[in-house]
């Protein structure tokens, strides 16, 4: 399933094809003359303020699928990039409530419906008190799992490979390079326009990233 998600299409179909290799991912919007799908374009920036202001301009140009790569955290870059707030809390809330409800249903069905008569200290079979611990515990457990795995899924992880790993220059971003990569899947992506935008914002060494399948 190496990097099949680079062939464009909607967010959801990409996520599915990421996780299920036998489902054919949607076709890429652009190919090179060699027939390789285009992942995106990458530009290099000199200083942190440069990349910060470039991010603001790219955000204002309406791009959605792009990223800034830096070897250190840049405070406030999420605002410069116009990141929307994460949907993770809503996912966690729904799953946690389902977990808690499931825990209640499980215990209620066992002690009050399927096998009533297992008397403990003369307490009622359907007493809610002893259920509470397990309701709480399963609620917390499902919330924890939902946060971890939801976070990984929203980030498109885990994955075997990423097209950017094919670029030697990208690998240097962990040692001091400041990079911006705009994906070809972005609806606003246009080979010429995007390249010009990156140049205007001060990007240098602009290269096309191919996805060599």
């Amino acid at each position: 399933m190496s990097a099949r998600n680079t062939r464009g299409g909607t967010e959801m179909s990409q996520m599915i094809s990421d996780y299920l290799p036998f489902i054919r991912p949607p076709m890429s919007r652009f190919v090179t003359e060699r027939g390789n799908p285009v992942y995106g374009v990458m530009a290099e920036y000199e200083t942190t303020p440069d990349v910060f202001h470039a991010a603001e301009k790219i955000r204002d140009a309406g791009y959605k699928r792009w990223d800034v790569h830096a070897p250190f955290p840049i405070h406030g870059i999420e605002h410069a990039m116009g990141h929307p707030k994460t949907k993770l809390p809503y996912i966690v809330f729904v799953i946690a409530m389902c977990g808690a409800l499931g825990a209640w249903a499980l215990q209620y069905w066992i002690t009050a419906v399927d096998y009533p008569g297992f008397t403990v200290q003369g307490k009622p079979f359907d007493a809610w008190e002893p259920f509470t611990m397990i309701i709480f515990e399963l609620g917390v457990l499902s919330a924890a799992f939902a946060s971890l795995f939801g976070m990984l899924m929203l980030n498109g992880l885990p994955r075997w490979h990423h097209p950017l790993f094919g670029s030697e220059r990208f690998l240097e971003s962990s040692q001091g390079k400041l990079l911006i990569v705009i994906e070809a899947n972005d609806p606003a992506f246009d080979p010429e326009e995007t390249r010009r935008l990156l140049e205007e914002t001060g990007g240098r060494e602009i290269v096309l990233i191919e996805d060599e399948d």
Partner: protein, 453 residues
């Protein structure tokens, strides 16, 4: 631009390091002078933004005090018209709610000082104002003790304290507890609680106000030491005070969770009161850019933690162990509150005190909204009153089963009276000093505070 310079400069000289005090941001005295000058130049920290004009709220304060005195006079009247037990129980609901507010505020002041916390600096003065009023509920408790004492001496039985009854010593259980539950020892303990709380509250408030005038940053270190020691004193004294005045209403009952239960109520009342006061101040145009959304967000987190989660955790833990253990002297407490109409109050308490605030406060939006958080603070305070009613009021019915629903107006006037007096004094207290600690070494950091999540 990222550059690494490693040039060797032969002109550099080596000097002894300047004296740095480990208070707040570590600074030399010169730097601290510059810091104070920077604060003095801040437009947000000037004039009416951080200080109520002279006489502001004086009319409201006087009105509330007058209202409170009228209502308390009505309570006294009700005690003679109906039963003293009912009037005293309702009065105690008010007193212990106010005590919870003051103790909770004192707890948070000491906690923030002990942890050297910087984000609550601008809200700390409102907590100090409430903590400084600890004498008011203590005065209420003096009234309670005097009434019980008077009743015990003249009539031979307590009003709500059944363990004061002359004939109660026929009870084998009380015979065993008599070494602790007797009037002399209660008075002795009460004096100790009063002295400790007054000392802690007064020292935290006066040192903070002294710093406003002098700018002496060593006071912050002194407050940190005092707060840390105070937390230890606070934990024991609050637990035992709650045993003496609330748990002993039914002398058969015992719960090792009780001290924590009362503490949970106190901690949430302190935060809730602070949220209400800060919200009112913000909505009337004060503290702009001083107590911002970020501070309200953190205040909301505390309100969520104490007002919903911690209280529910403690209350359920106490109930659950007693329910499972099924010992008669323990279960009587809950059996009584699950019958005779009190079962509806019990259910309301669970829903109103846990479910509603939990789901309302879990989102980021309510915590960052000044008006909503103020309303929720008032709501959480109301649930604390309900909790106190649930703890204290049933005992009036145990004492005197003849209490009729007609006399419910007594609850309203007694609780309302105590709260009105407290509110009147609190408004006066807020106006008597700047609304924030003006020269706290952590103030600048607090103004720049930001939540990244």
């Amino acid at each position: 631009m990222i550059r690494i310079t490693s040039d060797y400069d032969p002109t550099v000289t080596v000097q002894p390091a300047p004296a740095v005090h480990g208070v707040g941001p570590e600074m030399t005295d010169d730097q601290y002078e510059q810091y104070l000058a920077k604060l003095a130049a801040n437009e947000d920290l000037k004039g009416e933004n951080v200080r109520l004009p002279a006489g502001a709220g004086a009319g409201l304060s006087r009105g509330l005090l007058a209202l409170g005195i009228v209502l308390l006079a009505l309570t006294l009247f009700g005690a003679f018209v109906h039963t003293p037990a009912h009037a005293l129980a309702s009065f105690e609901v008010g007193v212990f709610t106010v005590l919870a507010c003051c103790l909770g505020s004192l707890f948070h002041v000491m906690l923030f000082q002990a942890l050297n916390a910087y984000w609550p600096v601008t809200i700390r003065r409102q907590l100090e104002n409430a903590a400084g009023l600890i004498w008011l509920p203590l005065l209420g408790m003096v009234v309670v003790v005097c009434i019980e004492l008077f009743s015990s001496v003249t009539a031979g039985h307590g009003v709500l304290f059944r363990w004061l009854d002359a004939g109660a010593h026929e009870s084998h259980l009380l015979e065993h507890k008599g070494g602790y539950l007797n009037l002399g020892f209660l008075l002795f303990r009460f004096v100790i609680y009063a002295v400790l709380w007054l000392f802690l509250a007064r020292s935290m408030v006066s040192m903070s106000r002294e710093q406003d005038a002098t700018g002496d940053r060593m006071l912050t270190a002194a407050m940190r030491r005092r707060g840390t020691l105070g937390l230890l004193i606070f934990a024991l004294s609050v637990a035992f005070a709650s045993f003496d005045f609330l748990m002993s209403l039914d002398y058969r009952f015992f719960s090792t969770m009780w001290g924590v239960y009362f503490f949970a109520g106190a901690a949430l009342s302190g935060v809730a009161l602070c949220a209400v006061v800060c919200s009112v101040l913000r909505l009337t145009g004060r503290l702009t850019n001083v107590v911002g959304d970020e501070h309200f967000h953190d205040l909301g987190k505390l309100l969520f933690a104490f007002g919903a989660c911690f209280w529910a955790y403690i209350a359920f833990s106490q109930y659950f162990l007693i329910w499972y253990g099924n010992l008669p002297e323990e279960t009587a407490y809950f059996v009584y509150r699950k019958s005779g109409g009190w079962e509806y109050v019990s259910m309301l308490l669970v829903v109103a005190h846990f479910v509603v605030p939990f789901f309302l406060l879990i989102t980021r939006k309510t915590k960052r909204n000044v008006l909503l958080l103020g309303l929720l603070g008032a709501y959480v305070l109301a649930t604390e009153i309900l909790d106190m009613i649930w703890i204290i009021r049933p005992m009036a019915g145990v004492r005197d089963p003849s209490i009729s629903p007609v006399s419910w107006w007594l609850d309203v006037v007694a609780i309302g009276g105590v709260l009105a007096v407290f509110a009147g004094f609190l408004i006066r207290e807020i106006g008597s000093a700047p609304l924030i600690p003006m020269k706290d070494p952590r103030l600048q950091k607090c103004l720049e505070h930001k939540n990244y999540v």
